[in-house]
């Protein structure tokens, strides 16, 4: 019996040690990696914001440049966007980029999206045929505007956002296109800023992601952001911080390392030929933007192409963020399910030197810290306090754990807010800055744990339940005024 007890005891000790080591390694490595990413992001943003040195394409300096720029198509998939679609298209047409075409894809809307477009832009049916060969759901009709030649509307059977973008690509006439959402508002120079990175190295740069910011609370007039302002809403401010951390504190660094795996669905500039070569947007995934970028990396590596995918931190697009827990949790669960789906789909790239930085670092980061993170973090939250109370964990180890689990996020958030305020300030100082800083301090206490729970739930649904497409409810920004 005593032998059995001894074996059991050592087995428990061994198991505890393994868990403790795993949790500790996870948090320490996560912290160090993110610190490294932050340092790189700071460096990149600093370099990027030094105008003359950073940008060999200066539209202000050379008037001839404006004649040499290529045309760009904005592909706007629209599903039940009756309330925002015409304002959104007008806003896109008013961008400072001179060679724009807007292709709106009505993806089988059940509301009056198409009628609204027909009314607002005097559309009429047309015999225009697709010029691209991506497979999509059947096209019901093509409409061209009799008052605005830059607008084309594709009316098709519902097939999801990816299918709608593919249809838009088929009807675009430009070598570059931007995939965006109907409820997004671009800053006037956003397209020029994103395209600048392509033109600096047109042979290699095949995609550029913009930066997404929350429009909630801002004053929007005639489809333009007149005064960016934070809405005093817990969920919105928390998301703004998350976006800043993700875009300015992480993706900029991955962009520098050519390991960027996510280009936002609201603002992604792509070389059309490259996307078509890679097979277009996949219609059977939940996060089509993430999946496409991974597939483009994969395609490039397998075909020995030196493609680069970058982020333009000053190419800014404003979009409506979920302002309540229910919608936000749905969105986050969908993202997490998409993440799991996509990394499983491209598991071959994992830790595979053939896929360079993406295979060796960016994708493993997504798997270990984004997909697997919730499991380890929840295990830590449940196990570490118990072990500490049982005296099985050193005080110093527990203190480091608490520090990393609850305060590392604070450091990352503060740093991201600082990068934003120094290099690409948009929110007002001091009100918005104080709000961002204050919420950065409290984000790790409550929200982070809630987010972990959502991701765990999504993991469970993915492996044992059903993946469902959750649609966000749009309030519409067109009529929002100050106050």
């Amino acid at each position: 019996m005593s032998v059995f007890n001894t074996i059991l005891e050592s087995a428990i000790h061994w198991a505890v040690w393994v868990c403790e080591a795993a949790i500790f390694t996870y948090f320490v490595s996560y912290f160090l990696l993110n610190i490294l990413l932050l340092v790189l992001s700071f460096w990149y943003c600093r370099k990027y914001s030094q105008n003359t040195l950073a940008h060999p394409i200066d539209f202000d300096a050379l008037s001839e440049l404006k004649k040499l720029i290529p045309p760009v198509t904005l592909v706007v998939p629209a599903y039940n966007e009756e309330r925002v679609i015409s304002h959104s298209v007008r806003s896109l047409l008013s961008l400072s980029y001179s060679r724009l075409e807007v292709v709106v894809v009505n993806d089988g809307s059940k509301d009056g999206t198409l009628d609204e477009m027909i009314r607002s832009f005097s559309l009429r049916k047309s015999e225009v045929r697709p010029s691209g060969g991506l497979k999509t759901k059947p096209i019901k009709g093509i409409y061209i505007s009799t008052v605005e030649p830059r607008v084309v509307v594709v009316d098709k059977v519902n097939g999801g956002k990816a299918d709608a973008i593919n249809a838009g690509i088929n009807f675009s006439q430009s070598p570059y296109f931007i995939a965006t959402d109907a409820d997004s508002v671009f800053e006037p120079e956003a397209v020029s800023h994103a395209l600048r990175l392509v033109l600096e190295d047109p042979e290699h740069v095949v995609a550029v992601g913009g930066v997404v910011r929350g429009i909630n609370g801002s004053v929007v007039d005639a489809g333009r952001i007149r005064r960016p302002r934070l809405l005093f809403n817990f969920w919105v401010i928390i998301q703004v911080i998350e976006y800043l951390r993700s875009f300015l504190g992480g993706r900029t660094a991955w962009s520098l390392l050519n390991g960027l795996v996510i280009v936002p669905g609201a603002f992604g500039l792509f070389q059309k030929a490259a996307v078509i070569a890679a097979g277009g947007f996949a219609t059977d995934t939940v996060t089509e933007d993430f999946e496409l970028i991974l597939r483009m990396h994969r395609y490039a590596r397998e075909n020995k192409l030196a493609w680069r995918i970058l982020i333009a931190p000053d190419a800014i697009c404003w979009t409506e963020m979920p302002s309540n827990r229910k919608v936000l949790s749905g969105q986050r669960k969908r993202w997490h399910e998409g993440l799991l789906q996509t990394v499983i789909l491209h598991r071959r790239m994992l830790f595979n030197w053939r896929y360079g930085m993406v295979g060796l670092a960016a994708l493993p980061y997504q798997v270990l810290y984004e997909a697997g993170g919730p499991l380890v973090e929840v295990l830590g939250l449940l196990l570490m306090p118990v072990l500490f109370l049982l005296g099985w964990v050193d005080d110093s180890v527990f203190a480091i754990y608490i520090g990393l689990a609850f305060f590392a996020g604070v450091v990352f958030s503060l740093a991201a807010v600082l990068i934003d305020q120094i290099y690409f300030p948009r929110y007002r100082f001091p009100r918005d800055a104080i709000l961002l800083l204050a919420f950065s301090l409290i984000e790790d206490f409550g929200y982070r744990q809630m987010y972990l729970w959502w991701r765990l739930e999504a993991t469970w649904n993915f492996f044992f339940g059903t993946v469902v497409w959750r649609v966000s409810e749009r309030r519409g920004f067109a009529t929002r005024m100050e106050g």
């Binding site: 003359t52 060999p56 300096a61 050379l62 009429r124 225009v128 030649p149 604070v410 120094i422 100082f429």
Partner: protein, 435 residues
């Protein structure tokens, strides 16, 4: 830990505050300098302001000078340019560009671009050879900004050695901007043994080409690099002569698709009748983009002639027809045909009707059906409905009934459609035993 976070938060806010205050104070000082540097300008007071300012203020003054130089016109601009180029500020830029640190050189080069002056252009030309790519870039941008012909030789001379980090589009814009008055000054680039230089040269020429560069372009149409040939085709669009048209006609037969595409586009831009047959033939090209461009050229050269479409419908391939109709429809082709329909248009109306019959017989009806509902002129809606009802296709009949039920359909047209359908319905024969 909580205290630590709080301190971090306050520290971050302090950093922001410092940054914000600095920006605010710089902006204020810049504004005050902008208020001081106003017409009528005095050289002495400008010199005094400059010499008595600290380094950061000098930067603000430079920014004010640069922004003012962009908004002044006519005599005011000349006076202001003379004031600055004759001042010690200008000399300090020249000195900094020669002897400063990399950052100082970049800034000085940037400022010299706002004030075109032979001394400045010479200094920028010399600095193109600087070992730092940032300085070279700044010099290229500034030389381009000056748009001075005197900058062209230096740019041409240094082009092969300029850093690869300077994008082609920037170099092209700089070259084109400077050579606008004398495009032939760029001809030498077309003879370079380096591909990139020839491509840049052809691209820049394509922005500014005139008859003076025609012989060089005709020679360059045989270039071994397709990019050069494509740019040559682009350039020829600016020279409306028979020699250019012949060169373009030969480039339309190029083995590389984007050269053919460019040549067709240029033929369309030139709008010469000789290009019509070439463009019509190119509608059968194997590359979709080339076919679209051929349709564009045809539209530009001959207008959207219904005979061409009818001809393609009868004898051409589906791909050619699709390319043509797609391109023309973006310019409102069917709209323009429908406009001809009313009876009072006489022969034109008859011709349009005949053409639409051919189109309907070929099954191209979706737009016309839509026109029956939404076309602004009632007479056109009537004529279209009649034409569609004449068609023998049974599936079209079904769709016409759908149109009649559409709330947007004119009640008279709807009635006519329903009546027409009833007229032609086969007599109902009841099954035996039921009568």
């Amino acid at each position: 830990m909580a205290l630590c976070s709080f301190v971090l938060g306050v520290g971050t806010f302090f950093l922001m505050q410092v940054r914000y205050s600095r920006n605010l104070s710089y902006g204020t000082r810049r504004l005050s300098f902008a208020n001081l540097i106003v017409p009528p300008w005095h050289a002495k007071s400008l010199e005094q302001l400059w010499s008595s300012s600290i380094k950061e203020d000098r930067r603000a003054i430079e920014e004010v000078l640069a922004s003012q130089s962009q908004f002044l016109h006519g005599q005011e601009s000349v006076t202001f340019q003379r004031l600055v180029t004759g001042s010690s500020i200008f000399n300090s830029w020249l000195q900094r560009l020669q002897n400063g640190s990399t950052l100082e050189k970049v800034d000085a080069a940037g400022m010299l671009g706002y004030f075109p002056d032979p001394r400045g252009i010479q200094a920028l030309a010399d600095a193109l050879r600087d070992t730092s790519p940032k300085v070279a870039l700044s010099c290229v941008l500034s030389l381009g900004r000056t748009e001075a012909l005197a900058a062209v030789p230096a740019l041409i001379r240094n082009l092969p050695n300029l850093p690869k980090s300077i994008p082609d589009i920037t170099l092209t814009a700089a070259l084109a901007g400077c050579a606008r008055e004398q495009p032939q000054s760029l001809e030498a680039l077309l003879k370079s043994p380096i591909d990139r230089v020839r491509i840049l040269g052809a691209w820049a020429i394509s922005e500014v080409a005139g008859p003076s560069v025609l012989p060089a372009l005709v020679e360059a149409q045989q270039d071994s690099h397709p990019e050069v040939r494509a740019k040559v085709a682009r350039a020829l669009a600016r020279i409306p002569t028979s020699v250019a048209v012949e060169a373009l006609k030969s480039l339309v037969r190029d083995p590389v698709w984007f050269v053919r595409l460019r040549a067709l586009h240029s033929l369309g831009e030139l709008r010469v009748p000789e290009g019509g047959a070439v463009a019509l033939a190119a509608l059968a090209d194997e590359v979709r983009e080339v076919r679209y461009r051929a349709a564009y050229a045809l539209r530009k050269i001959q207008g959207m002639q219904i005979e061409i479409v009818a001809h393609l419908l009868r004898s051409g391939s589906k791909l050619s027809f699709d390319s043509l109709i797609s391109e023309w429809e973006r310019s409102g082709f069917l709209d323009s045909v429908a406009r001809e329909l009313p009876e009072d248009n006489g022969a034109r109306g008859v011709r349009a009707k005949e053409f639409l019959r051919v189109l309907i017989a070929a099954g191209v009806t979706s737009t016309l059906e839509n026109f029956v509902l939404v076309y602004p002129q009632t007479q056109v809606r009537w004529s279209l409905a009649e034409l569609l009802l004449e068609a023998p296709q049974s599936e079209l009949r079904g769709r016409m009934l759908g149109l009649a039920r559409d709330p947007r359909c004119d009640s008279h047209i709807a009635k006519a459609i329903l009546e027409a359908e009833h007229r032609e319905l086969p007599p109902i024969s009841l099954p035996a035993g039921l009568d």
